[in-house]
Amino acid sequence: MAAKKLRRAKLSQELCERLSRYQITTCQDFLCLSLLELMKVTGQSYRNVQKLLRQVSLACAPKMQTAYEMKVRRSVNPSSAFLSTTLHSLDKVLHGGVPCGSLTEITSPPGCGKTQFCIMMSVLATLPVSMGGLDGAVVYIDTESAFSAERLVEIAGNRFPTYFDSDEKLFCMTRSIHLYRELTCDSVLKRIKSLEEEIISKKVKLIIIDSVASVVRKEFDTKLQGNLAERSNFLARGASLLKYLAEEFSIPVILTNQITTSLSNGLAIPADLVSPADDLFLSEVSGASGSGKKESGCVTAALGNTWSHSVNTRLILQYHDLPTRQILVAKSPVAPFSVFFYTIEKSGLVLQGLWIKWLSAPAVLLCSACLPQMVPMAGFYA
């Protein structure tokens, strides 16, 4: 929208020519100037310049819709609003599953099951709508080379044995998952930019990026000067591109992130704890911080504050009591904090029967850290 040429904003030909002499060719250039500057470059009076501004704004401004129209549109097509994760309790809390049209982030320490979750979601997206899927292709951008096609087939065969009863169906499913291996930040960004055409041509219904944190943390060392700003820039650009794709095509986007330890002798401790659910205690605290006390070495989701603003939903996976792990809903516009326990089986993630609903956050922390048994806590609405 910003790069729209002024000609297409219905300004007169001679005005466009005159403006191009001052290097003002797009709507962006026009709207960034102050009124006095505009008077100078267009040579028109104050009132005329205001009229021109209104005209150019009309060309750029978004369309208005009332909330009612949006609701009606969603209710007409309810199945397209979510991608069910087939983890029944999680779906109920998230009001249907992973929401379409927004970014969902899965964060966890290594080995908890992020890639397993992503592979499982890829299978689910290719299922027909009657089975809760989106009946479409999947774009899987893999930066860690962790995707295993054999595991994909194993999950599909074990989770839906009645549907994937023939090799033909399995091959059909695997053909619709498009895997891209990108190893640098630049190539990831280029790939995201090229996705718009791919989505239309291949009828893609799910985008997965596994993982954002690994490329970013490889290339940007935040201790060096200037790198923090560049990193935020890259992340913000990526996030806005992905948001645009998610909304334009109404598809879910799943990203994975890593966990970082913030040391007490370094920078940024209480500042980074943007929400209590970010303050995770692991039963195995990796590396340097040692003592595992609350003051030193608390772990948070990586990639910083700005990134946390960009994602709309955040799910955190953690170790609990091997082989049981837990999945936390940490940030969601529709769901409160909740915890569910799961294990990783042949058929992917399987929720365990016991789960605590409506936990207040301190209980979540205690559960994950020291106490292996469950401690019932005050309800969320107390």
């Binding site: 009132r47 009332t66 603003h309």
Partner: protein, 366 residues
């Protein structure tokens, strides 16, 4: 009439020619007439006529202003302002503690900024206000409509529907206990569909769309004169990346703030902005501060900061011209933005620690 030619809002080329020809005051231009002007300066008669019309309009505007009539500059006494402010409505937030520290609720004709970490409830408050502004007057609302400008994509229609349903239910309960006729009549028009159809939603993907939308907002508000709330959810998001030229950013933000102040005043509506938090890396530690820099802090009249304290959500009134700095807890339920039960909460002494740069107010009443 003695206004200098250089100060008239004509095109710069025309002004240059007038100066070169020796014209000094507006009166001279008017006396010359269009034909004389076109001959002297060498412009067409139509252009000369247009220029004279502009000059005449400007001068009559000036005259009206000096005569003390209703012009673009308003003049009134503090008493008139006091009466106006007292008669003005507030938009309640359904959290009585928050309404109390704001002095009744979100004030009309003022810009309120809500800053907070991700996930703390800024968008929830905006959605709640978009519903609350529509509460009919007999229930204590302002009976207006809402404009929601979304830059982050976090507006969830289903959530707004839930909040609106809870609000309608609340009003129905009030109507049942009071049993007054105008309550019943108001309830007929105050339904879920009507609430949702009076929230005008704009999705702006980058800062150019946001700027364009704010330029067009006065026209939109003139057409929809019942709008009493403009929410911009995420004013920081489009300005925080892809900006090499920080001075341009400051200029655009200031321009935006000015336009919003004009909109708030002219259309008697409240403007609510949400801002993000950023980490400021200091010498020994780093703190979370509102994004967009120091100069942006001057734009809003009232500033609220939402933050966490262990697992409790707190709201702090950081800047207000009439209310004291204080912190209250709040919570977010499936029905929306609410008080924490029980509502009796001791005043948090941390409120002065929140802002180390402000002098703490001393309690004078004991």
């Amino acid at each position: 009439m003695q206004r200098a030619v250089g100060s008239l809002p004509l095109g710069p080329a025309l002004r240059a020619r007038l100066a070169a020809a020796g014209f000094q005051t507006a009166q001279e231009l008017l006396d010359t007439g269009p034909c004389g002007l076109s001959r002297e300066i060498g412009i067409s008669k139509e252009e000369a006529l247009e220029a004279l019309q502009v000059v005449r309009q400007e001068c009559s505007g000036d005259a009206a202003r000096t005569a003390g009539g209703a012009g673009t500059t308003r003049k009134c006494t503090a008493l008139e302002l006091l009466e106006e402010e007292q008669a003005q409505g507030f938009i309640i937030t359904f959290c009585s503690a928050l309404d109390n520290i704001l002095g009744g609720g979100v004030q009309l004709t003022k810009i309120t900024e809500v800053c907070g970490a991700p996930g703390v409830g800024k968008t929830q408050l905006c959605m709640q206000l978009a519903v609350d502004v529509q509460i009919p007057e007999c229930f204590g609302g302002v009976c207006g409509e809402a404009v929601f400008i979304d830059t982050e994509g976090s507006f969830m229609v289903d959530r707004v529907a839930d909040i609106a349903a809870a609000c309608v239910q609340h009003c129905q309960l009030i109507a049942e206990t009071h049993q007054e006729e105008d309550h019943q009549k108001a309830l007929e028009t105050f339904s879920l569909e009507s609430i949702l159809s009076h929230i005008y939603y704009f999705r702006c993907r980058d800062y150019i769309e946001l700027l364009a939308q704010v330029y067009l907002l006065p026209d939109f508000l003139s057409e929809h004169s019942k709008v009493r709330l403009v929410v911009i959810d995420g004013i920081a998001f489009p300005f925080r990346h892809d900006f090499e030229d920080l001075s341009l950013r400051t200029r655009l933000l200031n321009g935006l703030a000015q336009q919003l102040i004009i909109i708030a005043n002219d259309h008697k509506s409240a403007v609510v902005l949400t801002n993000q938090m950023t980490t400021r890396i200091g010498q020994s530690q780093s703190t979370l501060v509102p994004a967009l820099g120091e100069s942006w802090g001057h734009a809003a009249t009232v500033r609220l900061i939402f933050h966490w304290d262990k697992s409790q959500r707190l709201a702090t009134l950081y800047k207000s011209p009439s209310q004291k700095e204080s912190t209250i807890p709040y919570t977010i339920t499936p029905h929306g933005f609410r008080d924490v039960q029980p509502p009796a909460v001791t005043q948090n002494t941390e409120s002065t620690e929140m802002n180390p740069r402000k002098r703490p107010r001393r309690e004078e009443e004991k």
